[in-house]
């Protein structure tokens, strides 16, 4: 009864772990390694980091809460335009712009979610697609504000912390994006392992049962939707600030759909699944597209089929399998996710 030993949570059988920023430290080392190893690819690597953020926001929705969306680009593009316009007309400090974009992404999600989250399943997906096309059309119409087809440009970001110029090689841009990714990743990891995160997973497993447990399910889902919107907004802002131009494609259906493909590829409901899926997709896209523009679609298509058929939990399943094998070789220490 009085089990006041060290780790009551593990003793009590939860799958949740971890306060220490170990995954973030590993990601930092890998990120910095890439920074020094591929100095001429910093632009591409920044794109990957930004895309990881967008896919993470989708993982929070789909993987942790069971809300499937095909309109996450609305908040991504919204954040991008917000950050671009903020830099152009109000203030060009990057962190200030980032905060504005997060708020704007959250606001877009809040307003749309208030309406859409009453719908379930397929109806909800359709609504998110509709919202995506709507924002695209609006941005296109508001030519005078957004630059329409030509894109939004002409702003120059102030140095980060007033000290680090956004240089031509994209060094600052990459390290800035990487830093934001690590902060968001840590926050998300805390979130999904919190009481709130467990409630999200309860909603994913059985929404109606959560209602019968007395949870205000709609309100919890709305909060998750807003948080995911804010993260997508942050990703959009990073894109606007590092490339210093915002195009309509940031709001496109393709963007939403590709983010979903990356998530499925890597594995839903695991934060690092989003990371793996995005990296694999982007790298394949990058190199296969060099060969022949149609090849990459073929490669991605085949990969997606293989994953869905043979690794239904995504590529993270490969990591799990290897890890289990290693721990068995080490004398079955079991897996040790927390340390």
């Amino acid at each position: 009864m009085t089990q006041t030993t060290v780790k009551p949570s593990l003793a009590l059988g939860t799958l949740h772990t971890g306060r220490l920023p170990i995954p973030e430290l590993i990601a930092l080392v890998v990120g910095l390694g890439c920074f020094f190893a591929f100095p001429s690819n910093l632009g591409f690597m920044t794109e990957i980091v930004i895309m990881i953020l967008l896919v993470l926001s989708l993982d929070l929705l789909l993987g942790y809460t069971g809300i499937a969306s095909l309109g996450q680009a609305a908040m991504f593009g919204g954040g991008a335009y917000c950050a671009g316009l903020f830099a152009l007309h109000i203030h060009n400090d990057p962190l200030l712009g980032l905060i504005m974009a997060a708020l704007f992404g959250g606001l877009m999600a809040g307003v749309s979610g208030l309406l859409f989250l009453r719908a379930h399943g397929l109806s909800f997906i359709i609504l998110t697609i509709a919202f995506g096309s709507l924002t695209f059309a609006v941005a296109n119409q508001l030519n005078w504000l957004t630059g329409g087809d030509d894109g939004l440009y002409g702003y120059i970001m102030a140095p980060l912390f007033g000290a680090f110029e956004f240089d031509f090689f994209g060094r600052t841009g990459f390290l800035y994006s990487l830093g934001i990714l690590l902060v968001v990743f840590y926050g998300l990891r805390r979130l999904v392992n919190s009481p709130f995160g467990l409630s999200a997973q309860g909603i994913r497993e059985d929404r109606q049962r959560m209602t019968s447990l007395g949870f205000p399910v709609y309100r919890v889902m709305l909060m998750i939707y807003i948080i995911a919107g804010a993260i997508a907004g942050i990703a959009g802002a990073l894109s606007a600030q590092t490339i210093q131009v915002v195009g309509l494609q940031s709001l496109s259906f393709t963007m939403s759909a590709e983010a979903l493909v990356m998530l499925i590829l890597g594995g839903t409901g695991r934060l690092y699944g989003a990371v793996i899926g995005t990296v694999v997709f982007m790298v394949v896209h990058h190199y296969a597209a060099d060969l022949d523009p149609s090849t990459w679609m073929l490669v991605i298509g085949l990969m997606l089929i293989a994953v869905v058929l043979f690794l239904p939990k995504g590529m993270v399943q490969l990591v799990d399998m290897t890890r289990n094998k290693v721990s068995r070789l080490n004398g079955g220490a079991g897996h040790d996710n927390s340390k």
């Binding site: 009864m1 089990q3 780790k7 009551p8 949570s9 593990l10 009590l12 059988g13 939860t14 799958l15 949740h16 306060r19 926050g187 805390r190 979130l191 392992n193 919190s194 009481p195 709130f196 467990l198 409630s199 997973q201 309860g202 497993e205 059985d206 109606q208 049962r209 959560m210 209602t211 019968s212 447990l213 007395g214 949870f215 205000p216 399910v217 919890v220």
Partner: protein
């Protein structure tokens, strides 16, 4: 129906939960027909009736998963007829499901943890670890021990035997600290070898809790209930003590006689 001002002596606390003239029709099919049921604190009532009589529908109606066509539902003196389903639960009206509904991909402990988080209103803690949530694990422990499923805490629910899953179902509703508990066939689908576990859990429910038990197993019903209501075609055909019901000719013919 008598008017309210003729009965000033009836204080709200005399009845914990009362259903007044509840009706529901699906098209032409009447599944609840002017049902009246009254539970005092600590009541032990059983609701019996043949399959398709409308017992589960009754539970769905009073818990807000279905909207009644007419009638009133009162909990602790408050009319909850139009209250949202989740608020009814927060106000103390809790049900279990005839077909187990659990979070199958989560551990037993996490299933119970969810119920406890709601009951303690701690689920809005966004960034603190589960292990650092004050009182949470102690409460989960207590419930695991109470139902004797301590050693299954780390198992995923879908790896449990069905009887054990039914215990987790009971653990969830108990974790919500209800005032009124509606148990929809807690022993349904449980093999005889495991049904004693359910019997014991039902027997150990808190004394001041008002319980409405829906059950087919007559041993369980007669060992548990102080009052029995018989539902046939959506209508309450008879109510009374187990003695009275057992000797009621019509009930025997319609229900008890038919090999249940």
């Amino acid at each position: 129906m008598t008017t309210l001002n003729e009965q000033p002596a009836v204080t709200p606390t005399a009845s914990r939960f009362s259903v007044q003239g509840l009706s529901k029709r699906f098209g032409n099919l009447v599944v609840a027909d002017d049902i009246h049921i009254d539970l005092t604190p600590g009541a032990r009532m059983a609701l019996i009736g043949p399959n398709g009589a409308g017992k589960s529908t009754f539970v769905n109606l009073v818990t807000g998963l279905l909207t009644p066509s007419s009638g009133r539902i009162v909990l602790d003196g408050e009319d909850i007829t139009t209250m949202s389903a989740s608020r009814r639960v927060r106000n103390g009206l809790v049900r279990s499901f005839q077909v187990t509904r659990l979070f199958r991909e989560l551990t037993v402990a996490d299933n119970i943890r969810l119920a406890v988080l709601q009951e303690r209103q701690q689920y809005m803690r966004l960034f603190s670890g589960l292990a650092n949530t004050p009182g949470l694990d102690e409460e989960v422990q207590r419930i695991l021990n109470e139902l004797n499923i301590r050693d299954r805490a780390s198992s995923l629910v879908h790896n449990l035997a069905y009887g054990e899953q039914r215990l987790v179902e009971i653990a969830l509703v108990l974790a919500l600290k209800p005032k009124v508990l509606l148990l929809d066939e807690p022993a349904a689908g449980v093999p005889d070898s495991e049904s004693d576990l359910i019997l014991e859990a039902v027997g150990n429910l808190p004394k001041d809790l008002a319980v409405l038990l829906i059950e087919h197993d007559m041993d369980l019903v007669f060992s548990f209930a102080e009052q029995i209501a018989v539902l046939v075609n959506g209508a309450v055909m008879a109510t009374g003590t187990p003695q009275e019901i057992a000797h009621n000719e019509t009930v025997r013919n319609i229900y008890l006689g038919k090999g249940h």
